[in-house]
């Protein structure tokens, strides 16, 4: 059971990181492109970029919390 718990912990965060990783990349790429085209908007763009990153990153954080719960025995 110990080994299976370790595998579950690693899979929970590992799989959860795939999508948000791609998503954050797309968000930052779009924001940088927009800033390059229109540097005056930088302050507003950074603000919206962080909101978008926060939404995307939340998915990875869900996986992280699940993996913590498995690792520290909150759920078996």
């Amino acid at each position: 059971m110990e080994g299976l718990n370790l595998i579950a912990t690693a899979l929970a965060i590992g799989l959860a990181a795939i999508g948000p990783g791609i998503g954050v990349g797309i968000i930052v790429a779009g924001a940088l492109q927009a800033m390059g085209r229109n540097p005056e908007m930088e302050n507003t763009l950074v603000q919206y970029m962080f909101i978008g990153i926060a939404f995307t990153e939340a998915l990875a954080i869900f996986g992280l919390v699940i993996s913590f719960m498995i690792a520290f025995g909150v759920i078996q």
Binding site: M41, T44, Q47, F50, I51, A54, E57, A58, I61, F62, L64, V65, F68, M69, F72, V74
Partner: protein, 321 residues
């Protein structure tokens, strides 16, 4: 020696020191606990270390606010100047997102930002998670979030003057006891972050009802073809808002603490320092994101889904820029 060579030498020396420190310095096993630990109980009400730290953050904020407003002047100096700068920057930031409701949302969002920021950074103070009280290792007291561990040298700090003959030269908990740190940032306690998320949830639901009246519910429940299905999805995502707010803050800050603990266990010197800087940044960003999302959710909740309001919103957005 050119600048690049010097940088390279510094990096190599630091890495060598970091690797060698693994063999010479004693660092305990990282011990991580999800739930906060009880420090003492007042008549059955258990005071956990995260609650204790939350009260400490309150005191810090109140004292700073009192200092800043004690002797207010038209041309600000010192603490007043700094606080005015912070508040003004926050005000401009939130006004961009929600120009109509800035007066209603600003006190809550700014308080959330300052509270979460101070509590995130309080957990990064060195020694904060390794100074505490020894509790008998029972089922309830066997937990802590620190670089201390059970056994002979739990929480070991060398204490030279006490090295009398036969004495333990380390200030440490006796075996069978574990160390419960005094300070634990409230953001690493899911109870606190969920409470904050629910507070923000109740706030923007209230303003949604107050602005749109009973029509606010039309977003969730209507029998208008495909919109009825969209309503169900909207409803689920509305329920998920406080949960995702809570888990985001908890996950980020807790993961940072665990990362620093594990890295310090692997490589005691040099390598944890950049991570420390990164965690300072993360603590700031997460505090900002929590406040910004509160404002953004308020804007979403107070925006009607009918057509004529869209044009109105574009107009105000254009004015804001």
């Amino acid at each position: 020696m050119s600048g690049r060579m010097r940088t390279l030498v510094v990096v190599v020396v630091l890495l060598a020191v970091a690797v060698l420190s693994r063999f010479f310095l004693y660092s305990g096993d990282p011990h991580v606990e999800v739930a906060p630990e009880e420090l003492f109980a007042i008549g059955g009400f258990s005071v956990t270390n995260s609650l204790f730290t939350a009260l400490l953050v309150d005191i810090i904020l109140v004292v700073v606010a009192l200092l800043a407003t004690r002797n207010m002047q038209l041309v600000p100096r010192g603490v007043q100047n700094v606080m005015e700068m912070i508040v003004e920057a926050l005000y401009n930031l939130f006004r961009n997102l929600s120009p109509k409701f800035i007066n209603q949302v600003f006190p809550l969002a700014a308080s959330i930002f300052l509270f979460v920021l101070v509590s995130n950074w309080l957990g990064l103070i060195p020694g904060g998670s390794s100074i505490g009280v020894c509790h008998a290792a029972g089922e309830e007291h066997s937990a802590r979030l620190a670089l201390v561990r059970e056994g002979e040298y739990a929480g070991a700090i060398r204490f030279a003057p006490a090295a009398a003959e036969g004495d333990n030269p380390y200030t440490t908990c006796p075996s069978g006891y574990t160390l419960v740190p005094w300070l634990r940032p409230p953001s690493t306690d899911l109870n606190f972050t969920l409470a904050l998320g629910l507070l923000s949830f109740v706030f923007f639901e209230y303003w949604g009802f107050r602005t749109l009246g009973i029509g606010y519910l039309k977003k969730f429940f209507n029998l208008n073809g495909v919109m009825s299905f969209v309503g169900i999805i909207e409803f689920i995502s509305e329920i998920m808002k406080p949960i995702s707010l809570a888990l985001r803050l908890f996950g980020n800050i807790f993961a940072g603490e665990v990362l620093i603990a594990v890295l310090t266990f692997l490589v005691p010197l040099a390598l944890p320092m950049p991570i420390y800087g990164f965690e300072i940044f993360v603590g700031f960003i997460q505090a900002l994101v929590f406040a910004l999302l509160t404002v953004a959710f308020l804007t979403i909740a107070t925006t009607s889904h009918e057509g004529e309001h869209h044009g109105d919103e574009h107009g105000s957005a254009a004015r804001a820029h």
